[in-house]
């Protein structure tokens, strides 16, 4: 994993670098939009962490460049401006995550990992959560070394959950991911898919499990 950090405060940049290198992978620091843009065009990065108030402009101006890159790096915007309207505009412009300053180091790492997991799934069809490996192309999951073959619906449920692992997937969104628009969904069908999937994970000694968040949805968590 290669990380690009765009941050003009040197002390903060160095802390971020230490932190990200310990948790995710090698990091390079640039202080300006222009330098970061040049680096992005020259090297391949998996994750970009951008601050907003930079000496030569708003970090968000890097987003159009980032969007054109193939493969496209995961993007986390870091900022002291956390007006809800600012957040929406950053996400609209193509940022994957938005973390307000000051943040808990674990929060930033968790969010960065979640974004990377999602990217990996989109790029390769594979991703990992705990000892669970998910492979969309083979339509299967691995718990450690053991293959866990899943029926179509349960695979769809697991895919939707693992895309947002560690966060709640609302029931409506999960239903939308698992069923076609025309399919009539009976009220507890989703629950039975989830409980069968949960049972399979437990029996396979998986350290990831599905939590029910009452009234909201489901969440894949590591135990």
């Amino acid at each position: 994993m290669r990380i690009l950090i765009v941050e003009d405060d040197r002390e903060l940049a160095s802390s971020l670098k230490t932190m990200m290198e310990a948790a995710i992978g090698v990091a390079d620091v640039f202080e300006t939009v222009a330098d970061a843009e040049a680096a992005l065009l020259a090297f391949k990065f998996d994750l970009v962490i951008i601050d907003r108030n930079l000496p030569d402009g708003d970090g968000l101006s890097l987003l159009p460049t980032l969007r054109q890159l193939r493969p496209r790096p995961a993007t986390v915007v870091l900022t002291a401006l956390d007006d809800p309207i600012d957040i929406v505009s950053a996400l609209d412009k193509g940022a994957d995550e938005y973390v307000g300053k000051p943040f808990e180091p674990m929060e930033l790492i968790a969010r960065a990992r979640a974004v990377l997991r999602r990217y990996s799934l989109d790029e390769t069809g594979c991703t990992q959560f705990g000892n669970l490996s998910f492979d969309l192309t083979n339509r299967s999951a691995l718990i450690g070394e053991d293959v866990l073959s899943l029926p179509r619906r349960e695979l769809a449920v697991l895919e939707a959950l693992i895309r947002r692992a560690g966060r709640v997937v609302q029931r409506d969104n999960l239903e939308a991911a698992v069923y076609n628009i025309d399919e009539e969904i009976e009220s507890n069908v989703l629950d039975s898919h989830v409980s069968r999937l949960r049972k399979r994970l437990r029996e396979g000694n998986c350290n990831a499990t599905i939590r029910t968040i009452r009234g909201i949805g489901y969440m894949l968590v590591q135990e």
């Binding site: 802390s15 956390d82 180091p105």
Partner: protein, 462 residues
């Protein structure tokens, strides 16, 4: 009774008192002018007045007898005075019957008999010994015509004055004018109040629209009457000054909060290098508190700095999405969050970002203060109420009200709270013309109800 502080009331009072004064002055002037005229004229006036009285007093009783009926205090006095004078006489006749008082001198009887009935008014002198006395004969236009002849009357100054007063009493034009003006003033009490109050009321209505936002509404100049324009202009410019001061304060708060965030982030990251776990945890908690003060200050500054944009939103969907984001961190603390909502939508008119800030604060508060809560229940009721119920120690009833003010922390709360969470919630609900109510859950715990006003029309279908 307290006199109302009205413009119209004193205006009317001054008008009425002014009129009364004018009436007194004019009467005095008339009397003075009269007294300055020569004795002969005065005597003439007095006698004329007696004649007139007698003429009016002539009437018939039930048997058809011609009699004198004199009404009024002054009139009676006048007649009595005249009768007391030995030389005074009068002769009243309707042609057929006559009333005679005193001795009508023979020379005068001659005048009465001889004067042609075509002569309606005549003045004559007759002699009693050496004294020349004034006589007056008057014939009125009644059918039958009443003839009054009077002579031998003489009055003192005081008596004359009395006569004059009686003379000017019914015919005083200024008295009529006075009555008109008293009536006008009475109407003015009502009308002036209306005419002055209506434009003032318009200005007041306009002032009530002032929303306290920077560069917000001002009193409209369009409807302002000319007299009030300087006041309105001064008021508007004062609002401008307040705005500037407020703006400066808000900018300071926003800038300070913003500038503090980067150093706080550095501080927090550096704390991970602290080896002593106990010290580190204390410092991390303090930093978190600082961070949340900074965040809530910024939220407060932002809330008071801009008008919220309202749209019709589904409170249940908005709340569900916000809660979903808090579940992971709550779970880390060993707290579950449960959401309850009725089937279908609960439409309200509100600002989603503001409601997010309010609910964020309530959930963060519960995570901070409601230790021992196993399940934090967030509920959306059909009656447009967003309810958060925790299982913590709750807030004593006496403290609940003041918890809604900034920088007030519960007496039982640990050092973590900023004391601004509920104040922000309260401010957001105020902007929604809703309300915040703090209550007690069954088995202690705090219940916070955010009540939003219902949308008047039916929510759109689909």
């Amino acid at each position: 009774m307290k006199r109302p502080n009205s413009i119209a009331f004193p205006v009317a009072t001054v008008l009425i008192l002014g009129m009364a004064l004018m009436m007194v002055i004019s009467t005095v002037v008339t009397v003075t002018v009269f007294l300055l005229t020569d004795a002969q004229s005065r005597k003439q006036v007095a006698v004329e007045s007696v004649v007139e009285l007698l003429q009016h007093g002539g009437g018939y009783d039930h048997t058809g007898k011609f009699v004198l009926e004199v009404d009024g205090v002054i009139a009676e006095k006048l007649i009595r005075l005249s009768e007391e004078q030995p030389d005074f006489w009068y002769f009243v006749s309707d042609g057929a019957q006559s009333i005679i008082h005193g001795a009508v001198p023979a020379s005068v009887q001659h005048v009465i008999d001889m004067t042609s009935p075509q002569i309606f008014s005549s003045q004559f002198y007759y002699f009693k010994g050496d004294e020349r006395l004034l006589g007056l004969r008057k014939l009125n236009a009644d059918v039958p015509a009443k003839l009054v002849v009077v002579g031998g009357a003489s009055f003192s100054n005081l008596e004359t004055l009395l006569v004059v007063l009686r003379e000017i009493w019914p015919q005083g034009l200024y008295h009529l004018l006075g009555i008109v003006l008293v009536a006008t003033a009475t109407i003015a009490v009502v009308a002036v109040k209306r005419t002055i109050a209506t434009p003032v009321r318009r200005v007041v209505d306009s002032a009530e629209q002032i929303d306290g936002l920077p560069n917000g509404r001002r009193i409209s100049d369009r409807d302002t009457p000319i007299e009030l324009k300087p006041m309105v202009a001064a008021f508007n410019s004062a609002l401008g000054c307040i705005d500037n001061a407020f703006e400066a304060q808000r900018n300071f708060l926003a800038n300070a909060s913003h500038e503090l965030r980067t150093p706080l982030t550095k501080l927090r990251l550096k704390l991970d290098l602290v080896r002593d776990l106990e010290v580190r945890n204390v410092l991390v908690r303090d930093t978190a508190r600082l961070a949340s003060i900074v965040t809530t200050s910024l939220q407060l500054a932002r809330l008071s700095g801009q008008a919220l944009t309202f749209s019709e939103i589904d409170l249940a969907a908005v709340a569900r999405a916000i809660i979903a984001e808090h579940v992971p961190s709550a779970m880390k603390q060993g707290m579950d969050i449960e959401f309850k909502a009725p089937e279908g939508r609960v439409m309200i008119s509100g600002s989603e970002p503001a409601i997010r800030v309010a609910l964020d604060n309530l959930i963060i508060n519960a995570m901070r203060h409601a230790h021992g809560t196993e399940v934090l229940v967030v509920e959306v009721l059909q009656s447009c109420i967003l309810r958060v119920t925790d299982g913590g120690p709750g807030i004593p009833a006496a403290e609940r009200e003041k918890m809604l003010r900034p920088f007030v922390r519960g007496s039982a709360s640990a050092s973590e709270g900023t004391g601004m969470g509920l104040a922000i919630v309260s401010q957001i609900m105020m902007a929604h013309t809703g309300s915040v109510a703090l209550g007690e859950a069954t088995g202690n715990g705090l219940v916070v109800d955010l009540a939003f006003p219902k949308i008047a029309k039916a929510p759109p279908s689909s």
